[in-house]
């Protein structure tokens, strides 16, 4: 380590072996040490006044010893995080075809609105008379969500999609309990997101998989056979995780309701039908909406999200606290009380910062623009499907909805796997599509171009995939290229087995500059 915070040996030794440069850097691709390897006592990135001179009231609990945090100046901190940022792919830099994740454009107007004084800085426990505007944001967004889904109620507090699933199942459980009906099973297709069974288990349910038909939809006969008096609910994603609209959805709803169970719809793929189809017209009882998918709030490298849940008349009495109601002096909050509410899911009132962004997105699009969102996202996905169906292997016949599913039949006997194919896309400047999900097809590749892309952009993407598919099929020397990919990234393929076998989950004092891999360093 040197004082400028640049890694020297032995990382640099390993780096230079790989890159041929003295520093390990490759032009604009900068190596960057950990914060903890560049700190120095006596340096800070903030200027704070002296603390008031008082006799402390810490009850003898003053911290003994140091925390160990590094001291850095502001320019050091900025350079560190700017360099880190440059190691990331992002929507702003390129098409991000991650199926089921809806990586659409994140408008900067939304960011600006979320930071307005009076919105970004208000405290959740201010007297309601001083936050009427904040409550209006929540109430207005709730109105849009109810109208777009055709549902009578919405719970706003869930923090993300999986939290929304939990909210929906809690409401279902409360409704069943209220009628003295104890049920133990949840039905979910094998193609479901992993969060569905995980959520069901959190609520004490066992999960029973429903098989799919050859054309990728729920098998109604199998569903009928599985339904019974102990089934609490079905959890069904629509459009489903194969990118297909469940065309028998109304029949599914009727069958589920006839068995006294509830219909939970996973709304992760609502982007395909927003403004075009109201789930409430299809017989569902509840559905979460990922504001960070359909309504463009940024994914932020893994959150925060927001997962409001729309509810039918049969579930709406059980909504979690808090919720906004219209009172005689304006809007107010119900934060607890003797209602049928199943309780509280988190601190305070929900992901307000995400509400503001989502509402700004909705107001910008309007009813006409949102319908266009669904149409263009479906159009682009079908265009990808049509453009590649002769060379890659579509899992199901079209039309698809907002994402196109391929499997690895076109790679059969080439020596190239789905993973290799995905990694080769990285060297071409693309984030890979979702791979190996859904689990119901072999070597899945799920492509979601979203409505944000221009036709030129989609064409270039399609041509790149076509070129890669041709190379893979031609085989020969090309196979090694796929297996070695990516080669042009800040890091090549990483050893995940080693990470899991002996986990190193934090930096520790004394590990400065220690050889990470002795063999490689030597």
């Amino acid at each position: 380590m040197n004082r400028q915070g640049r890694p020297t040996t032995p990382h640099a030794a390993a780096n230079s072996a790989a890159t041929g440069t003295l520093t390990g850097n490759r032009g604009l691709q900068m190596e960057e040490a950990l914060l903890f390897e560049m700190g120095q006592d006596g340096r800070t990135g903030v200027d704070l006044p002296d603390a008031p001179k008082v006799k402390d009231r810490l009850g003898g609990l003053r911290r003994a010893g140091k925390i160990g945090l590094p001291g850095l100046s502001e320019p050091q901190v900025i350079r560190h995080f700017v360099r880190l940022s440059q190691k990331n792919y992002s929507i702003d830099a390129g098409l991000y075809p991650l199926g089921s994740c809806t990586m659409k454009h994140n408008p900067r107007l939304n960011e600006k609105m979320a930071r307005l004084p009076g919105l970004g800085d208000v405290h959740p426990l201010q007297p309601v008379s001083t936050v009427q505007g904040a409550l209006q944001v929540i109430d207005t967004l709730a109105g849009w969500l109810k109208t777009l889904t055709g549902m009578p109620a919405v719970a706003m507090s869930p923090a993300a999609g999986a939290h929304g699933e939990l909210c929906g199942l809690m409401a279902i459980r409360a409704a069943l309990k209220a009628r003295g009906d104890v049920r133990k099973r949840i039905l979910a297709p094998e193609s479901a997101h992993g969060t569905n069974p995980a959520t069901a288990a959190l609520c004490g349910y066992t999960v029973d998989p429903i098989p799919a038909t050859a054309d990728g939809r729920v098998d109604l006969e199998a569903l009928q056979a599985k339904l019974g008096p102990d089934v609490a609910a079905i959890m069904l994603t629509n459009p489903n995780t194969c990118g297909l609209f469940e065309r028998d959805i109304k029949k599914v709803a009727d069958m589920v309701h006839a068995a006294g169970a509830f219909f939970y719809c996973d709304g992760a793929n609502f982007n395909a039908i927003v403004g075009k189809v109201r789930p409430g017209d299809l017989g569902i009882d509840c559905m979460h909406i990922n504001l960070h998918k359909t309504f463009s709030t940024p994914h932020g490298g893994g959150g925060p999200g927001s997962g409001p849940v729309v509810l039918s008349d049969s579930l709406k009495d059980f909504v979690p606290v808090p919720y906004v109601v219209h009172g005689k002096d304006g809007l107010t909050l119900v934060e607890s009380g003797d209602t049928k509410s199943f309780g509280r899911m988190k601190s305070f009132h929900g992901q307000m910062g995400m509400f503001i962004r989502a509402l700004a997105y909705m107001m910008s699009h309007g009813a006409d623009g949102l319908k266009r969102v669904a149409e263009d996202s479906v159009l682009s996905a079908n265009y990808v499907l049509a453009s590649l169906k002769d060379i890659m292997s579509p899992s199901f016949e079209g039309p698809c909805m907002h994402e196109a599913l391929f499997d690895d039949r076109f790679l059969k006997d080439t020596g190239v796997t789905t993973l290799d194919f995905a990694k080769a896309m990285i060297d071409e400047g693309y984030h890979p599509m979702t791979v190996y999900f859904p689990l119901v097809v072999h070597g899945a590749m799920l492509i979601e171009p979203t409505e944000s892309e221009s036709k030129d952009s989609v064409d270039t993407f399609v041509n790149t995939l076509r070129g890669l598919a041709e190379k893979a099929i031609a085989g020969g020397e090309n196979v090694a290229m796929f297996q070695a990919a990516p080669q042009l990234t800040p890091r090549r393929r990483l050893d995940e087995t080693r990470a899991a076998r002996s986990p190193v989950l934090r930096w520790k004092p004394g590990s400065n500059g220690a050889p990470i891999d002795k063999a490689a360093a030597e």
Binding site: H11, L34, G45, K55, R57, G59, L61, P70, L72, E74, F81, V82, L84, S85, K87, A93, C101, D121, V122, H123, Q126, P127, T130, G133, A159, G161, A162, L202, V207, E246, V277, R278, N290, H292, G300, G301, P304, R344, S347, M352, H365, G366, D368, G369, R372, D376, L379, Y383, A386, G398, E451, E453, T489, A500, P503, L505, W507, I516, A520, A521
Partner: protein
């Protein structure tokens, strides 16, 4: 529409390639009558119009920027350095997904590793995860984790635990009819939870400083837990406190859950925030949430990946340790950047200032007739008792353009014993002038 990339000509070309005559033909699987409903919503608008609408809503709120402000109770107003918001808005952080492709996500992965390290350090624990939704959901997940580790079901919840945390834990436990014992409300700060721990107890959840501000040494409680084979879960709602006070890890905590909002994350009316979750290394495979780990790439260079994912829902499905997927990535980044700027010296100084100012205000309030400061030992927040209901007092202070604290009745509705209790938080953002205004206004109101 400014956010859409296709022209009418593009759409026609694309339909032709697909081989259908209209976009609606692509929606042929939608049941008859359900397609293209009439929606009673306004049409699209330009940036200017949307900005006007939001500005109008923002104006209806009283901004903490404009008035003396003393609210806390789980969310705190702190100054956020300008660099934090600048950096988190970089495209490569803001508009990237969860780092499932590590070769092109090293930026996110490295800051998560740094975040995990910072959280471990300040809590005095061995390992931390890559974030949860918020402090309350972290607490609920901690209880489930303690149940998995101890193979016991009961949770004991301190009477000083923030009611939102208590209720979030209870709601989750109710789903599987797990028993939980909520100790009586502990305004005096002298509860003894050891009598509630038995051989069915999975964990005790206690907040420090607690919701009324009491700062307590938890060492003996940790021992009592250990003696009965239960885990001690410590919740921290004001994370800057750990710049000054003994961390939960040093008092014997097994799991530390915290609200990280105070470092880098704006109040934003209650969310999004960032849940911190730290524990002992031996429990790491029972942890919820994502973990980032160090490894090497095929050329031997240090790199980072998401790891131990056999705990997680996308691999493990119904056997996962949690259903959490999206967490609080960008808020964790804000936390990491702000903490980097502070460093050891800055965090310590910040905490000294918070405590010093709180002591100053507590002394001024204690001199007032009819007012008593409840906790002896506290950090930057304390309960006071008033001669009349606190909710009414707060409303009167609003008329005088002061946001004067959180009435305990807001958090403990219906509890008559807390009707006259007001929770007051003081941070580096409060000036002496603010404090004098609060004291003067209270004198008029009481």
């Amino acid at each position: 529409m400014r956010y859409l990339g296709l022209t009418e000509a593009d759409r026609r070309d694309m339909l032709e390639t697909i081989g259908v005559s209209s976009i609606d033909a692509l929606f042929k699987d939608v049941p008859a009558g359900a397609l293209n409903p009439r929606l009673d919503l306004p049409p699209h608008q330009g940036e200017l119009e949307v900005e006007r609408a939001f500005a109008a809503m923002a104006k209806k709120n009283v901004s903490p920027m404009d008035v003396p402000f003393f609210l806390g109770a789980g969310a705190y107003r702190h100054h956020i350095p300008a660099a934090v918001d600048h950096l988190i808005q970089r495209s490569e952080f803001l508009t990237s997904y969860t780092p499932y492709q590590p070769e092109i996500s090293q930026g996110t992965l490295q800051y998560l590793f740094e975040f995990q390290t910072q959280v471990s350090m300040i809590t005095g624990m061995e390992v931390a995860n890559a974030s949860m939704y918020d402090g309350a959901t972290s607490a609920a997940e901690a209880v489930l984790m303690a149940q998995r580790i101890t193979k016991r079901s009961k949770a004991v919840l301190s009477g000083g635990l923030h009611p939102h945390y208590r209720d979030t834990v209870a709601t989750l436990m109710d789903q599987t009819d797990q028993p939980h014992v909520a100790a009586p409300v502990d305004l005096a700060g002298n509860e003894d939870l050891s009598t509630l721990i038995d051989d069915q107890t999975a964990c005790v959840v206690v907040q420090n400083p607690n919701v009324f501000g009491h700062l307590r040494d938890l060492t003996s409680l940790a021992k009592a837990c250990q003696a009965k084979g239960a885990l001690l879960v410590v919740a921290v709602t004001e994370i800057t406190s750990l710049g000054l006070i003994t961390p939960p890890g040093a008092m014997g905590a097994d799991i530390v859950v915290a609200e990280g909002q105070s470092i880098g994350v704006p109040l934003s009316f209650g969310g999004p925030y960032v849940g911190l979750f730290a524990t002992r290394e031996k429990y790491v495979r029972q942890m919820p949430g994502r973990l980032c780990g160090e490894t090497v790439d095929q050329e031997g260079r240090r790199g980072f990946v998401l790891t131990l994912s056999a705990r997680e829902q996308h691999i493990r499905r119904e056997k996962a340790t949690s259903n959490i997927c999206t967490n609080s990535g960008l808020c964790a980044l804000a936390f990491t950047i702000h903490m980097s700027l502070l460093g050891e010296a800055g965090l310590t100084r910040l905490a000294e200032i918070n405590h010093g100012k709180a002591v100053q205000l507590a002394e001024k309030l204690a001199e007032m007739k009819g007012v008593a400061v409840v906790p002896q030992a506290f950090y930057n927040e304390f309960a006071i008792t008033l001669p009349k209901p606190a909710a009414g007092v707060v409303e009167k202070l609003v008329e005088k353009k002061i946001l004067g604290g959180v009435p305990a009745s807001r958090l403990f509705p219906g509890d008559k014993s807390l009707e006259n209790v007001l929770l007051i938080a003081v941070t580096e953002t409060n000036t002496e002038g603010d404090m004098d205004k609060l004291v003067a206004a209270l004198k008029e109101v009481l």
